[in-house]
Structure formats: structure tokens, C-alpha cells
């Protein structure tokens, strides 16, 4: 394999659909390319490849073309709405869009057309973005494979026999395949970082409360986050700048100023202290993943970061905490449907909701108490270190239909879906910002991700480290083949 400028295809401007958000925005704003032409490239590419990849539940072809034409008209008149003016982006189909179906990947909400845009969607539109469609997901975001019996499985662009990860699998696959320059995802136990890693793109889960969740269907109120998946850390910085900020319509929204992420993006990371947490994140692990991530960590060291090792507090209790909180909150949200129309759920999602309904209230409360202790102990560690660096997932993308199997991984046994969330959920519990950047490929040509975690509300440092890494490496420029035939 060699780095490629973009997905190979016969019928589209293949160079253009493979550009970063940063570059297509520059070309549109300088009127080197019109927003309409940029959109037509993407729509044509979707028509060319999405029958197989199935990244979208809804493509808003006509509406998006109208928006792009309006964007061009404004540009010709000298008006720039914002940093995403004319840029085609996608939104996970769990955020509401006024008058447009919002299914949450479910049969239950197949016909729902909300009256209002989610705050994130509204902010994207205010920044000038053209919404090209709603991306596929694991039903109600309750799963990590995007195997969806209602709208079809999303396939991994690197190997269509593999899952793209989830729950934001459509968003990860869309960005990887050149079907949009950025896509919004949600992350309750890794659902931005897992598909970003498995599809070979960049994704950031910001701090809890940094991005409003108004208009987003909850999976677990105290663990849900919204963030961007894109090609580069710089693209993520531009997108996060647009969607971050306090929202009085979301009571969990943090009322803290949003820094200028781009202003510090190019600052060197020399002198930052980066801790590599130990065994719980590395054992068991696919040896090829471990090697690629270690090489990625070496790149950070080569850029002048001071590397240290650290223990991770309460590592043995993470799974229990995450399960008690996530599953109980999910069952509470779904209680009426669980009672009234259980047969409308994917059986695996239904099984998870049944489990959540069986969790004692005492467990839920004690998990939240323990979470406070975890947060305090991590705050101690973050007084000494600026960032953590670790594998995003300990395995590459599992085969479709086999992700629930237990397999031999490195020196141990792992149930693959549990493996995918293992290195994720600590940072949902903590609410800390966590990003994944592509850091290599396995011998069977599947992407591997390096996870970079920062202190709460210090997304700028995380983005800066990811950007510095991507100035030294080219993994983020690799693109999947356009032949997606399974």
C-alpha cells in the first residue's frame, strides 16, 4: 500500500473528495471551487460507493444542492457565513434535524420528523456547513459495530467484510471513504473513537459538557458526548470550534469559555509530559496494534514530549462502573418502549436493555460514587502530566457477524466488542477529552489508532499533540480503495 490522495473512483473528482476539510474550505472560500461543485463531487461519490458501504440512512441531495447554491450566491456577494461555509458535512442520525427523518437507527423512530434542529446541527448551519445527510449507526447508539438490522450494516471501507466500529460507524465510514469532509458522532463508551480508529480517520470526544447535547437522543445522560470525525486533527479543531460552547437548552452544558483551538494548534509539544498508562490498556492486545501504537508514542517522544509511565486508578472497577451507569440509564430512557414494543428492537440491543433494567438502584448510585473517586484520583495524576497516550482499541476491525465472539488476542482471550470499548470507557467516566489519530496498519491492511487524552476542558492540548503527530507522519493521508465490493 502507498498513501493515496483520495478514494480511487472512475466517476468523481477523486482528488477533491479526498481533501481535508481545511483544504476544501480554503478552496471554496477563495472561490477556486464552488460549493456546488464540491457538493456534486461528494454526492456522485456517495452514489458510486454507498450501495456497498451503507454509511448513510438519509442523503439530502436536493436540500443540500439548494444550500450549496445559496452558499455560492453569498460568496459571490462577499458574504462568508463562517468557517464551514459551503463545506459538505454529515450528521449521525441520532441528532434531530428539522423536518428531516431522525431514526436513531431504529424501527421505532423510522417515521419521526422532529420540528427543530439539534443545537449542534444549528451551529453547523450557522457556520455555513451544507448538511449532506444522516449517517447510519448502531440502533439507538447502543453497540459498537453498526450492524443494523433495520437499515443494513455499515461496512468498513478498508475491508467490506469488517465492521466499521460504532456506534457512529456511518460517520467513520463516510469520512474515510470521501463521502463528506467531516461527520458528527456521539460517544458514550467509545462511539466516536472506535469507528474513527477502525476506519483510519481522526476523531475527538471533547470534554463532557463542552458540546451541547440538546436535540440528541440520549443513550446515557451522564456519559454521552458529541464530537467530530474528520481526516485530520486540524479539521477536528475547526469543527469543534464551531460546535463547542455553552447552551442554556442543555442543563449539562458547561459555562466555560471556548479557547481558539487553531491559535495554539501549531505550538510545539516539546516539554509536555505524556504518560503511558500500563497493563490494563495493553493486555491482552494484538501485537501488531501494540507495535504501531508504541511507534506512535515514540513519535511524540521524538517531538520533545517528556514520556513517563503511570498507573491507572480503579482499573479493575471500570467495567462495573461503566456497565452499571450506562446500561441503567439506557434502560430508564427506553423503559416505555421496552415495555410496549420490545419486538421492534434489534435482539442484541434488546438484550442490553433487559440487562440494564435488571441493574439494582444501589449499584447505579455506588457506581456514581466510585466515579467521583476515580475523577479525584485522575486529577492527582493530571497535576503531574499533560496528556495520556495509549492504544485506541486493542484489536483491528472484527469481521461482520463475529464481533461478539471471544477470540485469542495476543496473550489472552477477549470478547471482541468488549475489547473495542476497553480503552474507551475510562474517559467517558472521567469526561476527559480523548482523540484518536491513525498510527499504522495491520498486515491485513486494517487501520490502527493512537489515543491521546487530556485534562478536562483542555481539548486544545489534545488537538495540538494530534496535529504535531500528523505533521510527522502520513497515516492520516492513507485512503481506502474505491472497490468496495464485498
Amino acid at each position: 500500500m502507498t498513501p493515496m490522495p483520495g478514494p480511487r473512483g472512475d466517476s468523481v473528482n477523486e482528488e477533491r473528495v479526498g481533501l481535508s476539510l481545511t483544504e476544501i474550505a480554503r478552496r471554496i472560500h477563495s472561490q477556486e471551487v464552488s460549493a456546488t461543485h464540491a457538493l456534486e463531487d461528494v454526492l456522485e461519490h456517495i452514489a458510486h460507493v454507498d450501495d456497498t458501504v451503507n454509511a448513510f440512512i438519509t442523503v439530502l441531495r436536493d436540500q443540500a444542492l439548494q444550500e450549496a447554491e445559496a452558499a455560492d450566491h453569498m460568496l459571490r456577494a462577499g458574504h462568508l457565513l463562517g468557517p464551514l461555509h459551503g463545506v459538505p458535512v454529515a450528521v449521525k442520525d441520532i441528532l434531530t434535524t428539522a423536518g428531516i427523518p431522525t431514526t436513531a437507527g431504529s424501527k421505532i423512530l423510522a417515521d419521526w420528523r422532529p420540528e427543530q434542529d439539534a443545537t449542534v446541527v444549528r451551529k453547523l448551519r450557522q457556520a455555513g456547513a451544507v448538511i449532506i445527510g444522516k449517517t447510519n449507526l448502531h440502533e439507538f447508539a447502543f453497540g459498537v459495530t453498526t450492524e443494523n438490522p433495520h437499515y443494513g450494516n455499515t461496512r468498513n471501507p478498508w475491508n467490506p467484510e469488517r465492521v466499521p466500529g460504532g456506534s457512529s460507524g456511518g460517520s467513520g465510514a463516510a469520512v474515510a471513504m470521501g463521502m463528506g469532509y467531516m461527520a458528527i458522532g456521539t460517544d458514550t463508551g467509545g462511539s466516536i473513537r472506535i469507528p474513527a480508529s477502525l476506519c483510519g480517520v481522526t476523531g475527538i470526544k471533547p470534554t463532557y459538557g463542552r458540546v451541547s447535547r440538546n436535540g440528541c437522543l440520549p443513550l446515557s445522560w451522564s456519559l454521552d458526548h458529541i464530537g467530530p470525525l474528520a481526516r485530520t486533527a486540524e479539521d477536528c479543531a475547526r469543527a469543534l470550534q464551531v460546535i463547542a460552547g455553552h447552551d442554556p437548552h442543555d442543563p449539562t452544558s458547561a459555562n466555560r469559555p471556548v479557547p481558539d483551538y487553531l491559535a495554539t494548534l501549531n505550538q510545539p509539544i516539546e516539554g509536555l509530559t505524556v504518560a503511558v498508562p500500563g497493563e490494563p490498556f495493553w493486555e491482552p492486545i494484538d501485537p501488531e496494534v501494540a507495535e504501531a501504537v508504541r511507534q506512535g508514542i515514540d513519535v511524540l517522544a521524538g517531538l520533545g514530549a517528556r514520556m513517563v509511565e503511570t498507573d491507572f486508578p480503579l482499573a479493575d472497577e471500570i467495567v462495573a462502573m461503566q456497565t452499571a451507569i450506562l446500561f441503567a440509564e439506557a434502560a430508564a430512557y427506553h423503559h416505555r418502549w421496552l415495555r410496549d414494543c420490545p419486538d421492534d428492537y434489534d435482539p442484541r440491543v434488546l438484550a442490553g436493555l433487559h440487562q440494564g433494567a435488571a441493574i439494582p438502584a444501589v449499584d447505579y448510585v455506588n457506581a456514581q460514587r466510585l466515579r467521583a473517586i476515580l475523577r479525584d484520583r485522575m486529577a492527582e495524576i493530571f497535576r503531574r502530566v499533560d496528556l495520556l497516550a495509549l492504544p485506541t482499541t486493542p484489536v483491528t476491525a472484527p469481521e461482520i457477524g463475529r464481533a461478539y465472539e471471544t477470540v485469542q488476542v495476543g496473550g489472552g482471550q477477549l470478547q471482541l466488542t468488549r475489547a473495542l470499548t476497553r480503552n474507551m470507557s475510562p474517559f467517558n467516566l472521567l469526561g476527559a477529552p480523548a482523540m484518536t489519530v491513525p498510527c499504522g496498519f495491520s498486515s491485513d491492511e486494517l487501520p490502527i489508532g493512537l489515543q491521546i487524552v487530556g485534562r478536562p476542558f483542555e481539548e486544545a492540548t489534545v488537538l495540538r499533540a494530534g496535529h504535531a503527530y500528523q505533521q510527522e507522519t502520513d497515516w492520516h493521508t492513507w485512503r481506502p480503495p474505491a472497490d468496495t465490493t464485498p
Binding site: 442543563p251 462502573m321 456497565t323 452499571a324 433487559h354 476542558f457
Partner: protein, 66 residues
């Protein structure tokens, strides 16, 4: 050590919420609950202290925990 409930207990527990579960789904639920109960054993041994502050929520703390 926490026990793993039998399938009848699980069915009755869900029925308290008005939730019906098909009999053929019960063995899988029991396996899931067994895994969960095992994971919770170590949480049960945590000493939270006698005078910990109340569980609360501060949206500016960066986490909904505690």
C-alpha cells in the same frame, strides 16, 4: 461473592417494571448478568468512608460523576 440469579428471578425482576422477556432470551440475559455480577464484586469491597460528600453534579467539572 455475588450470586448469579436464576432465570425465573430475572424474569420476575423485569416484570416489576412491566417488562416482559421471552423465555428463550433468558439464558443469554443470565450470562450477561453473571458477567456483570462478577465485575461488581470488587466495587462491593470499596470503602467509601463514613462522611463522604453528597453525590452531586457540577456541569463545569467536566464529568457527570459524583
Amino acid at each position: 461473592m455475588r450470586p448469579v440469579p436464576d432465570t425465573a428471578e430475572l424474569k420476575a425482576q423485569l416484570a416489576l417494571l412491566g417488562v416482559h422477556i421471552a423465555d428463550d432470551a433468558l439464558p443469554a440475559l443470565q450470562r450477561r448478568v453473571g458477567f456483570y455480577q462478577d465485575a461488581m464484586n470488587s466495587v462491593d469491597e470499596i470503602d467509601f468512608g463514613l462522611t463522604e460528600p453528597a453525590v452531586g453534579y457540577d456541569p463545569d467539572a467536566g464529568s457527570a460523576g459524583g
